[in-house]
Point group: C3
Chain length 161, copies 3
């Protein structure tokens, strides 16, 4: 078993299945795109165990508290790792996380976006260790996110060639 | 003629000229920036045939319907291809689309952003084929876009060295 | 002294110290992440001389004028250069600016986002010259930014290997 998957198991975390998109949502793009030693990772949503969007949906500062947003960001991390595993076969092939764009669905006045995206960043660093897991990051507030998901995160990572 | 341009002609599509920016808009940046085998592509707007911003301007969910947003995204694709042709000489030099950030100008409550950005993604895949044209993507809702354009899309692509 | 630092001195500009984050803000990420010949640069905020967030805070079109936003963008540039100097040792090691995502904290109806981000772009080009300093760019309007900063900018640059 890969080291990252062993660590996931140790933490009691499991990866969700492929996203079950809502009715009418076509997906004319790829969740992960590889070019040389780089993986470009689409914006991912928090997923429930069955692959659908996780509850609660909505905006931080309205439907979700900071703590719920933090948990949603952790789920985004698991969703992204699931896509990476499908594409790369082994999560240990990610040698260095590079760049994360964390997007929070904000009700007017909610600006504690970094506290929400920390759910993602802290889990990546816990799973990969600081040297491989740390990353450049922005954590910003969106007017709307697809179908009212609370958090969407995209990333770029270095992989073994 | 390049294969992509032949395909554009077959579809009855033409590329717009250089952007005619609104009065007072300086452009201290480049529409395409090349580094090695990568092209970094600025956020592009939908353009009319004469190079100015295409109509209608405004927000999805207010001034524009989903279908109008989809058409605006197709125009962004043509605008981006026009910039790539000016920079690279030949659109066939794009060997792999990598990453797309689709930004939709959203009135409060409009969150069908993926349906809007599909106008861009589906045209890229039609022109380049699935293998070269598919890409990682986010499609998200902005509070405002420059001068009230409805859609702005930036991208990164692999090119022949 | 490096050429870029000599130019900064000539312009009477100084680089701020490390960011003093507001109480309760953990930073589980890196301000700059290097992979091969690329530097990935986190979203940076305008900083005061003492390292804290610069005043005024708030939204363009409400608390800040375009000119104040332009000045805030210049401060973001200095903040980013300070992070690059800490990471790379010498600012001349940046050989080519590639991509900039400029994010403006917008009150409803404010869409002159390019005029705000020009404060960043024009300073980078002044310091590095057009050939090395120009870059692909998006300049867009966010619903919220962390802790109500007016501007956040992230970037990618090519560095000497």
């Amino acid at each position: 078993m890969s080291k990252v998957e062993a660590k996931l198991k140790e933490l009691g975390l499991t990866l969700p299945g492929q996203l079950k998109p809502p009715a009418g949502m076509k997906i004319p793009f790829s969740f992960v795109r590889v070019s040389g030693k780089h993986a470009y990772i689409s914006g991912h949503a928090p997923q429930a165990a069955d692959g659908s969007f996780a509850q609660p949906m909505g905006k931080l500062g309205k439907e979700l508290t900071v703590e719920q947003g933090y948990q949603a960001s952790r789920l985004v991390c698991l969703s992204m790792l699931a896509s990476l595993k499908r594409e790369l076969g082994d999560l240990d092939r990610v040698t260095k996380w590079l760049k994360v764009l964390g997007m929070v669905n904000c009700a007017p006045g909610f600006n504690q976006t970094p506290l929400v995206i920390n759910g993602f960043s802290e889990l990546v660093v816990e799973l990969y260790g600081h040297e491989r897991g740390t990353h450049a990051r922005s954590a910003v507030g969106m007017a709307e996110l697809p179908f009212n998901i609370p958090v969407e995160i995209e990333a770029e990572a270095e992989i073994d060639g």
